[in-house]
Amino acid sequence: MADLSTNFLGIKSPNPFWLASAPPTDKEVNVRRAFEAGWGGVVWKTLGEDPPVVNVNGPRYATLWSQDRRVIGFNNIELISDRPLQTNLDEIRRVKRDFPDRAMIVSLMVPVNEESWKSILARVADTGADGVELNFGCPHGMSERGMGSAVGQVPEYIQQVTEWCKKHTKMPVIVKLTPNITDVRFPARAAKAGGADAVSLINTINSVMGVDLDTMIMSPSTDGQGSHGGYCGQAVKPIALNMVAEIARDAATAGLPISGIGGITTWRDAAEFIAMGCGTVQVCTAAMVYGFKIVQDMCSGLSNFMDEKGYTSLADFQGRAVPTVKNWNQLNLNHVDKAVINQDSCIQCGRCHIVCEDTSHQAIWATKDGKRHFHVNDAECVGCNLCVSICPVPGTITMRTLQPGETDARTGRVIDGSYQNWTTHSNNPMSSGCA
């Protein structure tokens, strides 16, 4: 059986699944239930200075649903912990004492001055917590007060606060990054420059979930008004995975430990983040949708996957996908794929035909000998993968790579197995081969 345990910055946990700093980790009762259910660690909901913040008492959450009410995306306008600092610290101490094998990270957010950080770090260290996570990501409410993503959007602030924290604590320091920026590599580099032991990402994305068309009020709203919230859940996973990949492959930050966050709902999502370089993963929405028991299903899936692939530890595949992430200009323009439709499993819905016909390359025929029959016209197919994406039957449309010696029916070129990218392509005005 595969070993799911992790050692992240010296912080050990029996599995890579941590609950992210969020409503599920706000109180002792919740965290105890989480640990009893099997979570490997928690990042305690963000602590701030007293007096505590005050939350709205109207809806704090809103949801993007599928038609059968599956939660696709989720947003919230909840602030950091709204309970007294000492209450939280006392609870953290008790829970860590009772669950010594679990990771206990404490998320922090105080104003941008050294004294504030120094003071709170000392009090956290006193609880026996394993590490701290600097919340530079919260996009709503706190950012208006110059904290959260207001810090995370300015690399210089990130570096400064990280430096203070490293100076004033021996606990490992994880810097949580906001996705509400243009290029995540800059804040990540700043965190590293400030001495961060790791980064965690992504925090939530600025979002307005919708508009109630009867009242014409945005949602969620309190007393007729709303404010943008942080978007999370399955829908944000691709955004998070890209940002993780950018940091993992950036020469300036390569090797910096990463705790991956963003829409992780299944073991598969977790495995993908780990393959993209993450040492642990953090989950919130999945727990808020299904309850804490979901971690058992995630562990089961991850363990079986690793056994099947022959991975004995997470390190065996951690970061394996990173070298495959490139700039577009490195992609091989001589490589040719063509779609192939398996007629045995095709159910004849015809969606591949109509989307290719209407929106792509007119490369799928709808009839053969006057009968309904969907098949690919290689002379038009550019290998775009749209048909694969929309086909409702898994594995029915696949991409086949043309082998050396085969002729691309679209261009008439014979595949020679060579590699050529845009930097050397004759159509590139900047290429060296350009006349």
């Binding site: 038609q67 059968d68 159910i347 004849q348 819905c349 015809g350 969606r351 109509i354 309904r372």
Partner: protein, 450 residues
């Protein structure tokens, strides 16, 4: 000699309500949204091709999914003004749902019929502004004879195009088969008349009831008063068993039994303790199942050929069996057994196929019965047309038309079951009426129809 056990009121009052209420409750909004999500929105959708009226099924389901019930109803009713009734009575398992691509991997098509019912009834419950309005008046007048599915569809199509329609029917209510010929549990809640009310709300359709062609009016008379005539006469005749049929209580036509159930309270309808239904179609199933639901203990449907020849769909056969009806194939009626004017049972000869011909095997058996219902098909009563005045060309005993539903008599169109060809389905009758209306409109206005 046993006295035939024929009586009404076999059940407790509450049982009647349950037995004759909606056989398949409608989808609620949640169910409809979930089911709508199953639709793949196929290109050139096979379900739409399989629908005799060509309803744009992917669109109406997409609109349900987008919470646009009015738009869904519009997509349905534009193609099929009787989309509500068809949703309830269509054998979807051999039409749209049989064509659904979901069958391939799941053997579970999208529940198109149920979704169609959800959309149409949801709209009718909360109609808002009329979906359809009439084109400017043309000043043309059309007589539609027969207010069943074909006639209703024709009347609606003509009224929409600005013609004035007189809708003539021999019965006391509009609806034809919808009102008189369907099992009660298929049209619970007075749906047939609710649908007709909606249909007539377009305006320009004047009903003329208790008016039988050949008796109260003639075709020539109508042609002298109207610019065009549409005949949607249905099949008024019932086939005889082809054996001696003594006049005994309990031996009757299934269609008459079904009509009685529709026009009265089930508790007052007489049913035998043991019932034999002769025939293998939808009418036989409706009569057999309803006999059981009225409290008959033993109900046997007897069909002269093998199971594959039953015109009742597999779904209908299962429905009958689930309701405790025994289906017995390979037997033809030989004699009505009666003593002293009291029905005792039916004697049958078992049959088999020999060289493609149905022959007796020589074996016989008797099923004891207090009631025997004939359901071996209905016929067009040619005398209706003949009595009407002009000789309309027939083929195989039904009215012959061209592709545009024009009969051999100028200015006379025909559609529905009285027309030759087709499967005698409600939805096909609707399509006939719809397309005949287009053809009549083209003829009356000199505009190519389309």
């Amino acid at each position: 000699m046993d006295l035939a056990d024929l009586k009404s009121g076999r059940l407790a009052p509450a049982d009647y309500d349950r037995n004759f209420g909606d056989a398949h409750p409608p989808l609620n909004r949640t169910q409809a949204l979930i089911e709508a999500e199953r639709c793949y929105y196929c290109y050139d959708a096979p379900c739409q091709t399989a629908c005799p009226t060509g309803i744009d099924i992917p669109s109406f389901i997409q609109r349900i999914g987008q919470d646009n019930v009015r738009g869904a109803a519009e997509a349905i009713l534009t193609a099929n003004p009787l989309g509500g009734m068809c949703a309830r009575v269509c054998p979807t398992e051999v039409l749209c749902e049989q064509a659904c691509v979901r069958n391939t991997n799941e053997s579970k098509p999208v529940e198109i019929g149920m979704l169609q019912r959800f959309a149409v009834e949801g709209h009718m419950a909360n109609p808002g502004a009329p979906l359809f309005t009439r084109a400017p008046a043309t000043g043309k007048r059309v007589a539609v004879v027969g207010a069943g599915p074909a006639g209703l569809a024709a009347a609606h199509g003509l009224a929409r195009r600005g013609h004035d329609v007189t809708l003539i029917d021999a019965n006391t209510k509009l609806g034809g088969l919808n009102e008189y010929g369907l099992a009660t549990y298929k049209v619970a809640g007075g749906f047939a008349q609710r649908e007709i009310d909606w249909l007539l709300s377009i305006g320009g359709i004047t009903p003329r009831l208790n008016c039988r062609i050949g008796r109260d009016v003639t075709l020539d008379g109508l042609l002298s008063q109207y610019d065009a005539v549409f005949l949607g006469l249905g099949l008024a005749g019932v086939n005889a068993l082809g054996i001696a049929e003594p006049q005994v209580p309990g031996l009757r036509d299934a269609v008459e039994f079904i009509a009685e159930l529709r026009q009265s309270t089930p508790a007052v309808v007489t049913v035998g303790r043991r019932v034999v239904v002769i025939g293998g179609g939808m009418t036989a199933v409706d009569a057999a199942v309803q006999s059981r639901l009225l409290g008959a203990e033993q109900v046997t449907m007897v069909y002269r050929r093998g199971p594959e020849g039953l015109s009742a769909s597999e779904y209908e056969q299962h429905w009958a069996q689930t309701n405790g009806v025994t289906i017995r194939c390979w037997a033809r009626p030989l004699a009505v057994e009666a003593e002293g004017g009291v029905l005792q049972g039916m004697r049958f000869a078992t049959t088999t196929l020999e060289g493609g011909k149905l022959v007796d095997t020589g074996e016989q058996f008797t099923i004891e019965a207090d009631m025997v219902l004939r359901a071996i098909g209905q016929t067009y009563e040619a005398e209706l047309g003949e009595a009407a005045g002009s000789a309309i060309a027939l083929e195989g005993g039904r009215i012959k038309t061209d592709e545009q539903f024009r009969t051999s008599v100028p200015r006379v169109w025909a559609g529905g079951d009285c027309r030759v060809g087709g499967r005698d389905l409600t939805v096909e009758a609707v399509e006939h009426g719809k397309r005949a209306a287009e053809s009549i409109h083209a003829a009356l206005t000199g505009v190519a129809h389309g």
